[in-house]
Symmetry: C2
Subunit: 87 residues, 2 copies
């Protein structure tokens, strides 16, 4: 499956969240990562993030695409990350 | 169709970008909006944003889902926006 992860994290914890995200996903732009991932690794990613975030201050949204057949990406302005774009 | 819009915009222009985004989409969390939109309105949204952003500094990514049948959203931590969640 393919996931898009967007996070809104207190600056005290944001670098740790980014570091974990990058172990599993590709950085796209500020606060956005995405990539192909297995269900097991996705569960691991969430567990690692739950260890760090404060649930009443931080927020992370995952968009989970079972297939990328019906999705596409369009970028306006600068393309920052995403060297391995697959959708 | 359904779009997710994530933006990384210089602070001088970020409020104007958010204001335009909110005319068409629902705010989800910092720098993320999403919603059902027609092709015509999506083109209008992009035109309005292109009038404001600086292409060498700012970046906006749109994820366009032709259908939401194969997608879902998971949130960890605080749910900030998204009162009208449909996926």
């Amino acid at each position: 499956m393919y996931i898009i992860m967007v996070y809104d994290i207190n600056e005290k914890r944001v670098n740790r969240v980014l570091k974990i995200g990058r172990k599993y996903l590709d950085w796209m732009q500020n606060s956005v990562l995405e990539g192909e991932i297995t269900v097991a690794k996705y569960e691991k990613l969430k567990m690692e993030l739950l260890d760090i975030i404060k649930k009443d201050e931080d927020s992370i949204i995952f968009y989970i695409l079972r297939t990328t057949r019906y999705s596409k990406r369009e970028i306006i302005g600068q393309q920052k990350g995403g060297s391995k774009l697959i959708i």
